[in-house]
Amino acid sequence: MSLFLTGFRFGAAVPAVAEVLAGLIPRIPTVGLRIDLRSQTEGDQRLRELKEQIEANEGESPFMIDNGTILKAVPKKKPSYRKTRTKFLASGDKKIKPLENIVRCPACGHVKRSHFMCMNCFGEIKTFLKAKKRELLGEIEVKSPFETMDDIDKRIVYTSKKDNEPLEMKDKSSWIPQREQPMIYSKDHLRKPKRK
């Protein structure tokens, strides 16, 4: 008897629950999908607002909290006064020290470090010496074995030779760092020594 009753009750309750649930769950607006606004806008106030926003934004989805990469990891709390001060007044080894050994290069008048070669002059001298070497000794042609090899040998030795270097890496001038031209030395740029 009890089984029957429960079965009866349950059977009667199922359609009612489905209807209630369908009414309770709100319809989440799916942004970026095509929405047939004609039929739905009549009923819902929020969808009408969304339509206006999309039209104002030239067909694109409006600003929402989760539709972009606006949210980023941030510190949870503001660091206290004490913490910032302890960081700034940490031991001197961990800080970047100012360069005190800056002098005038006697060969070009630009700034250089004392006891170091002036890189501005070194570049000039190196290119000059390379040209000089080429004049005296002639061009030294270094041919790789790949160029002089027979076709059959190439296939056997270099079975899977591919050019794996990406295109943007081939233009070396774009990514190899270049030294900047140093400043012209002036005594005014230096920190004045403390008077005792």
Binding site: R104, P106, A107, C108, G109, H110, R113, H115, F116, M117, C118, M119, C121, F122, E124, I125, K126, F128, L129, K132, K133, L136, P177, Q178, R179, I184, Y185, S186, K187
Partner: protein, 255 residues
């Protein structure tokens, strides 16, 4: 600089091989741009290789062996270099470098410090070069310094004079050749036109206006003070008179 004594034998063997390769390549190319640590590690090895090679060769020549091939084969110090390079390196040492280093028994190399490399590791770099070579970087740097001072119309300061003296001392017709090279440096590095006697590039002209702070070092009152100690009142040593050894009384009697 980590001493290789404290490292594994694997690393130690690699370091030895690097030293040998640097030794061979500096003889080939006259100067190399390497890391500072590598250069400092290889320098004593290169020095001892060259001095031993040249000293042994002098012995062999005294014995009467003049053929180059037999001089190479009998020189055991050539075994320091890797085998396939021995003939090339050895013949260059015994022909070119032997002429160049007639009056030297040590001090064949020089290390110049450079700014750190512009890569991610920021490694300290340096140049290691053979002295008195045709492609000596310090020589051309000093030539550039002298050229600049001449274009500015200044006299040489004491430090530059000393550099010039050191660099030209053991070269054949050193001073004449240096003066020639200063003229080349003027053209090359300052775009100096000999006919009009003017610097053509405007940027270089502007750089030349940047004079040293204290001009009395360049032929003024402080001319000689640059090399003197600032801390202690030193005096230069008086010139040595040639000493006379008195004749032995026994010899005098016999004569």
């Amino acid at each position: 600089m980590a001493s290789s004594r404290s490292l594994f034998s694997k690393v130690k063997r690699h370091h030895k091989s690097i030293n040998k390769n640097l030794c061979a390549n500096i003889v080939r190319h006259d100067y190399l741009v390497t890391g500072k640590t590598k250069a400092m590690r290889a320098q004593p090895k290169i020095e001892s290789f060259l001095s031993k090679m040249l000293a042994r060769d002098d012995e062999l020549v005294k014995q009467g062996i003049t053929d180059l091939d037999s001089r190479l084969s009998k020189n055991q110090h050539l075994n320091y270099v890797h085998e396939p390079l021995r003939k090339e390196i050895g013949s260059k040492v015994l022909t070119e470098l032997k002429d160049r280093y007639k009056d030297r028994s040590a001090g064949f190399t020089r290390i110049i410090r450079l700014e750190p490399r512009l890569s991610e590791d920021k490694a300290a770099m340096s140049v290691i070069e053979l002295v008195d070579s045709e492609f000596e970087i310090k020589y051309w740097f000093v030539a550039k310094v002298v050229a600049r001072l001449q274009l500015q119309g200044l006299e040489l300061d004491a430090l530059t004079k000393r550099h010039v003296e050191k660099l030209t001392k053991l070269r054949p017709d050193g001073i004449e050749k240096f003066q020639n090279d200063v003229e080349i440096a003027k053209k090359q590095f300052f775009s100096y036109n000999e006919e009009t006697e003017e610097v053509e590039d405007e940027l270089k002209k502007k750089e030349l206006e940047n004079l040293p702070n204290n001009l009395s070092y360049n032929g003024g009152i402080l001319g000689e003070a640059l090399l003197a100690s600032k801390k202690f009142p030193t005096k230069s040593r008086p010139s040595k008179e040639p000493s006379k050894i008195p004749l032995s009384p026994f010899l005098a009697n016999s004569n």
